[in-house]
């Protein structure tokens, strides 16, 4: 997959042009915006150029992706694939690499799955499946990641994934039900002890105060205490319990992903794409933001 990327572009460059163009040098040295301008300029003057329009568009797409303008880059890379069918695979791979770099693992996985549909060669399918497995792992979708690795012919990774235990889980429904009966207990169940105790104190205290007022036959005070204090904090305790349980599950899933990533030695499928673009497409190490990004989407 990535070898193809390099091979195609290098052969195109070497056969058709004896020198490295200005745009390629700019891209290699990291001047992405200027490289994009140069490629656009050579696109405009393309009837005199030695590179085909598809290849220029692809390089334009690569420089735009490096410049973090992903929507335009996607458009250019797809156009390149349409203009020259041979370039569609490297273009889609590069696009997937850019998405992965921006931690949009869902989009990257989509691009590679799309590519998988049209790929016949078994070695290429294996590398694609391996990359898809890695992306699914980063997304937190561990079960389908294991399946992808098995399809890729890497059962040892799948068994490594299977060997890691699923972390502790807190059910949001249980937390909600617990909190409905004893306010604050659901929050303690989901891991936030102090909040749970405080919630219990306030809810129980307000209820006690209301009962005391009712016993003194002061129903007005009792109803005010119940309708303002008790009602608000009782509902708040329940919704907090659900939120904390979901947060607990996300954290445990994330920890499992980190553990698997540390144990799985992943071939550097970004390296070839890096050498083409001249800069690192490698995403940063897995960090806490992943799950937050995923939840926020």
């Amino acid at each position: 997959m990535t070898f193809l990327l390099v091979l195609l572009c290098q052969s195109a460059i070497c056969n058709l042009q004896s020198e490295i163009s200005l745009g390629d040098s700019l891209l290699k040295h990291g001047f992405n915006h200027e490289a994009a301008r140069e490629f656009r300029s050579s696109l405009y003057h393309s009837d005199s150029g030695s590179l085909t329009a598809g290849l220029i568009r692809m390089k334009l797409g690569l420089s735009l992706g490096a410049d973090n303008d992903l929507p335009t880059a996607a458009e250019e890379l797809r156009t390149a694939g349409r203009l020259e069918p041979g370039l569609s695979e490297p273009a889609q791979t590069a696009l997937a690499g850019f998405y992965a770099r921006r931690r949009r693992y869902d989009l990257a996985e989509f691009e590679l799955s799309d590519l998988l549909v049209f790929t016949r060669d078994s070695t290429r399918r294996a590398t694609l499946n391996s990359a898809i497995g890695w992306l699914r792992l980063q997304k937190g979708d561990i079960a389908s990641a294991a399946k992808s690795y098995e399809l890729a012919g890497r059962p040892e990774v799948a068994s490594t994934i299977g060997a890691t235990k699923e972390g502790p889980r807190r059910s949001p429904t249980t937390a909600a039900v617990l909190s409905s009966f004893i306010p604050g207990s659901g929050e303690i169940y989901a891991g936030h002890t102090v909040t749970g105790l405080l919630g219990f104190a306030i809810t129980a205290g307000s209820l006690a105060g209301a009962v005391w007022a009712a016993k003194a036959d002061d129903w007005v005070s009792a109803s005010i205490i119940v309708s303002t204090l008790f009602w608000r904090f009782y509902n708040g305790s329940r919704s907090n319990a659900v939120a904390f349980a979901e947060e607990f599950n996300a954290g445990s899933r994330h920890r499992r992903v980190v553990e698997i990533s540390n144990r799985v030695v992943e071939p550097d499928w970004f390296r070839e794409a890096d050498s083409l673009t001249g800069y690192s497409l490698r995403p940063d190490t897995v960090s806490v933001e992943n799950d937050k990004v995923e939840k926020g989407k």
Partner: protein, 433 residues
């Protein structure tokens, strides 16, 4: 007794104006404590405004003093209800932040005007800056020479700049136009390229770049165009007095009318409708301009702030209803009347009368605060209603102004230039293609 009352009055007066008086600091601590302890226990995302009600009250106390701050906060508590979402984009304008509507303290101070400025019009304007097809057709100099065998490094090319402009790459087009401007010999062509660079910067919303590009043309033959360009840039940046100053310096015939019309638009944007209408009435008649000359702001519906406050003083919530916010009025009515009823209940000579007076005083103070906050809020609501009506008026004027031909006609610059590329004259083209 008299001395104690006087001290109390002085203390309250000081509380109103000082910012670090003990009351304000205590208020800060109390709200801070609430935020740390009680707020997390009530669940997340309860307030539908962006500085949440507690943050809002804290900021109000900090900036306006304790008593005004508490009143502003009380008004906010009554406004923070489900009907607030129906007032989005009329009274609460701005982007939704994190699922909450924006509502800052500065917009609710009755004795000052709001800080949110009329929105920039570049987006609307760039539809009409749309001499897209015109200017890209105007590159009459571009002739593609047959391809040479070795690809030469492309020099600055006006036709390439036009291509970039028409394909929407405005920042790159600006750079290319600037390259053409400083390499070409003819002053007219150089001026055209400089103006198009300014246009591209304007479209790319790089206003400082646009101003630089336009102001750099002051010593060239395209002086009038450059002044007009500066005026348009300042208009797009919403700096209306400066835009007017720049536009008033445009005096030559084809652009003077457009400059007057744009100056009139700046007056409309600043809500000075009478002045704007009078400026437009001096223009030669184009149909939209004639209608605009009649829009002098007298036909805007307004609400009296005093009447709104008085209504709310008599019936809580009536002022908000008068100012177009029925939902807020209903909530205010329920809050004030509810707390008032509770106070009355405790104070009345009934079997469960509060004999120690604690509950009466607590709820009495709460009722008084909400009542005063409601009257204050009615005043601000009337002001917001008037602002909203004026904004709608400005939008109507905008739609008429968009029909006026306010874009400069750069084509006329090139009419003086020979359309046939001469290799001696147009050295910009010789290295290309």
């Amino acid at each position: 007794m008299l001395v104690r009352t006087a001290l109390l009055v002085f203390w309250l007066a000081g509380a109103c104006v000082a910012r670090y008086d003990p009351l304000s600091v205590c208020g800060d601590w109390m709200i801070g404590g609430y935020k740390l302890v009680l707020s997390p226990l009530q669940g997340q995302n309860l307030c539908n405004f962006s500085p949440t009600c507690s943050q809002f009250t804290k900021a109000a106390i900090r900036t306006q003093g304790f008593l005004p701050g508490v009143l502003i906060g009380a008004d906010r508590l009554m406004r923070c209800n489900t009907f607030a979402w129906s007032y989005y984009d009329t009274y609460y304008t701005g982007p939704v932040i994190d699922g909450r509507m924006p509502d800052r303290v500065e917009n609710h101070i009755a004795w000052r005007s709001r800080t949110d400025e009329p929105g920039l019009v570049v987006a609307a304007q760039s539809e009409r800056l749309g001499t897209r097809s015109e200017t890209s057709d105007v590159s009459v100099m571009s002739r593609r020479l047959p391809a040479s065998t070795a690809p030469a490094p492309p020099g600055p090319s006006l036709s390439f700049a036009d291509f970039l402009y028409s394909s929407g790459e405005y920042s790159q087009a600006a750079a290319e136009y600037l390259r053409v401007r400083f390499t070409v010999g003819s002053p007219m062509l150089s001026g055209y390229a400089g103006l198009m660079a300014g246009e591209s910067y304007l479209r790319a919303e790089d206003f400082s770049g646009a101003r630089r590009a336009f102001m750099d043309l002051r010593t060239t033959p395209v002086l009038e165009f450059s002044r007009y360009g500066v005026g348009r840039t300042l208009f797009a940046e919403a700096e209306y007095p400066e835009a007017r100053a720049a536009l008033d310096s445009v005096v030559s015939a084809p652009l003077a009318q457009q400059a007057r019309a744009l100056a009139g638009w700046t007056l409309f944007k600043q809500h000075r409708f009478a002045d704007g209408a009078s400026v437009l009435s001096t223009l030669q008649s184009a149909l939209p301009a004639q209608h605009l000359a009649t829009m002098d702001g007298r036909d805007i519906r307004r609400r009296s702030r005093l009447a709104s406050s008085l209504l709310s003083a008599i019936v809580p919530g009536a002022g908000q209803l008068y100012s177009g916010r029925a939902g807020d009025g209903a909530y205010s009515f329920l809050t004030v009347v509810g707390t008032g009823l509770v106070t009355w209940w405790y104070a009345a000579d009934l079997p469960h009368r509060d004999r120690t007076g604690v509950k009466v005083s607590i709820f009495g103070v709460i009722t008084a605060l909400f009542y005063a906050g409601n009257v204050y809020g009615a005043n601000v609501a009337a002001r917001d209603y008037n602002l909203f009506q004026e904004r709608r008026y400005v939008q109507r004027a905008d739609s008429l102004f968009n029909l006026l031909p306010l874009e400069p006609d750069y084509r006329s610059l090139l009419d003086s230039v020979s359309p046939v590329p001469d290799t001696g004259k147009w050295k910009v083209e010789s290295g290309n293609d």
